[in-house]
Symmetry: C2
Subunit: 407 residues, 2 copies
């Protein structure tokens, strides 16, 4: 690596969840989905502490309940993840199946039973095909290796069109510490979690409490800022395992914390944005920025309402600078503000000043919403707070994908 | 009319806003839209009292501000309504234009200036073409007549595929009292109002205060129960004019009120459901019913979340009984309930009992979500309260209409 890159605080590295020391992974096909890999295993050679953030949906899938119960309490050895079946709304049988998947994995790995986490994504309400899964778990354990991250990244996908993964490192005590991750998204993506799964690993040595607070902070700045369609799922989770295998000293409140947090933020932001870019049927990435609000909460609420508006999202799909829909969405967000103070820019083009249309170059406005990346910037001109939400446009392909998902 | 029909409390009658005595209407083309009628006038020969319900959007169009200022205070002679241009986010000029449209109408009618209400729907942010509008107002006044209601119903439409109108009568003191209405909807339809306009007339003799409370009650049970896409506009309004020209006695809290309220409820419900049936790109009408809730508010919140879910609406567009999406939407509604008690029926088919899939005939479930009318009934089994929301499915045609609206 050239010295100039070496000096940067955060450096991208090859790989993903197996880039940090001591992690192995596998992704195999066991036949739950109609094609492709559908079972992923993440394994750490030495036990890790874990942190997790989970869906707030009242219906929580069996694997969510099992994993929540274990992640903060146990020393973790691995996580088994299937796609193609959510194991949600499956009653007691679903809970037994989730525990059984963990047990089978633990037995095959020779690890303690409660050291294995489980995660599922796919169709709701159908029982897990346990015979296929049991065979798959054996295959996955046999396939484990330091190069298995790419296969794992594939195996967790459902309607995603491509895997999402990243890894980077920073130096602590002159030694590299790494953070890596994989994610899946595509449908049901929304603030407060979605059928979004993200699995993060690090070889940092860090306490479980600090790990959890770092993860919460990163998720707030990344996965909680994206929305594809406002739906949140029964199965979402973001898991982070830290196995302490880096040769650096421990990350503590006084040592290396800001660098670790920055690395985790960047991994999470990268994966969250990748999820939006690969949103179901998405053709454009949209950043909604609300500035000049009286509070960050107000700014976020307005940004989310704009980002969630089907009329805004379809206009942008059509490359139409229909800024009236942006204002109309802002106006119904349930936030008090003075409409007569509001400015709006589409990319660099000011289209509204002080609440009313201002003269602008229509073709420039059109160009601003016709590229791969669109920025909608609303300034309330009332305070100092701001918020950013990332979303994608709403296309006919989204409807096609979701009206035919099970057929 | 046969005696058997005559005995029913409420009877459908021909026509719409001009069915009540003393109302005339017109619908003409003045060239704001690229084709079709785009200017409607409603006129009452003797002054009426008025009631109104308006958008809660922070951005309120100029005609909304002008009409809100007048409707409860003035004796009303008419309302001038244009489609094709919302006169919203148009600043001071927009306000002057709205006042000027009312003034021109008043002058042409020989009515007091403040007796005219204004309403607009269409593209946001462009100034009203006042020369066209002035010429149109003259045409509309010249065209006024007791048979003009159908033309008026056409002239208020934007992306609607058909006019929406209704009228009915009931007897009071042995004399008929009539209530009629026209509406437009299609896009931006949501609870708490939408680019939804409805104009209602009655020849009942009723005080302004009572009229307003009756309208609020009816709107709560009709227009506030529909959603097409969750967007609410800058221009929504429901107006009700009562000119007292029926030969019956006055409607008061002790005389005829329940019959008047029932008539108004039925007119509003009919128009609201028509708006949903003609939702942009809609292929199916969906009734979401939530029962067994601890409060009506909880039931409504869950019903709205289900009705607003793109994943539920696209599944139904595809005739897919994907009930997991219904539960997932209910679970993220922000209402506390016990998932393990929940039942779900698709039409008459029970698919979930006590929070988990129950065995059912898959082809019957598929049939239940493949017709013109779909009922999703969720029972929380916790309390006695319920709520109903009406919506439509989300099709590729919705996206097509809204990505090309201005192009």
């Amino acid at each position: 690596m050239p010295r100039s890159k070496r000096r940067q605080t955060l450096r991208d590295v090859a790989g993903n969840i197996t880039a940090p020391c001591g992690f192995e992974a596998a992704g195999v096909r066991c036949g739950i989905k109609s094609r492709g890999r559908d079972l992923a295993l993440i394994y750490t050679l030495s036990p890790a502490c874990g942190a997790g953030v989970f869906t707030t949906n009242r219906f929580q899938a069996a694997p969510v309940l099992v994993t929540k119960d274990r992640v903060g309490r146990e020393r973790i050895h691995g996580c088994i993840i299937n796609s193609g079946n959510a194991n949600a709304c499956t009653g007691r049988r679903g809970h037994r199946d989730a525990l059984r998947a963990a047990d089978l994995t633990a037995a095959a790995l020779g690890a303690p039973r409660r050291s294995i986490l489980v995660s599922s994504t796919g169709v709701i309400g159908e029982p897990l095909p346990m015979t296929k899964l049991a065979a798959g778990i054996k295959m996955a354990v046999a396939a484990l290796g330091p190069d298995g991250g790419a296969h794992a990244a594939e195996a967790i996908l459902t309607t995603d069109t491509r895997p999402k993964s990243t890894a980077l490192e920073f130096d602590l005590d002159g030694r590299p510490v790494r953070v890596g991750g994989i994610a899946k998204g595509s449908g049901m993506i929304a603030p407060s979690m979605a059928t979004m799964l993200a699995f993060l690993t690090t070889d940092a040595d860090i306490s479980p409490g600090l790990l959890q607070s770092c993860l919460l902070a990163s998720v707030e700045r990344s996965f909680h800022r994206v929305t594809v369609d406002g739906d949140t799922s029964t199965n979402d989770m973001v898991l982070l395992l830290a196995n302490g295998q880096a040769e650096a000293g421990s990350v503590t409140a006084r040592h290396g914390l800001s660098r670790f947090q920055a690395a985790l933020d960047r991994v999470c932001t990268h994966l969250a944005q990748e999820i939006v870019r690969d949103g179901e049927g998405a053709s454009r990435f949209i950043e909604v920025r609300v500035e000049g609000a009286l509070s960050e909460k107000d700014a976020r609420q307005i940004a989310r309402t704009i980002a969630g508006s089907p009329l805004v999202k379809t206009a942008i799909a059509g490359g139409d600078p229909n800024w009236g829909r942006v204002l109309a969405a802002a106006g119904r967000a349930g936030v008090r503000f003075r409409p007569e103070l509001v400015d709006l820019r589409l990319g660099g083009v000011a289209v509204v000043r002080r609440g009313a249309a201002c003269s602008h170059d229509e073709s420039a406005a059109r160009a601003a919403v016709s590229g791969d990346e669109v920025v909608l910037a609303l300034d309330l001109n009332a305070g100092k707070h701001e918020a950013v939400i990332w979303t994608c446009d709403l296309t006919a392909a989204y409807v096609r994908i979701n009206s035919q998902y099970r057929t």
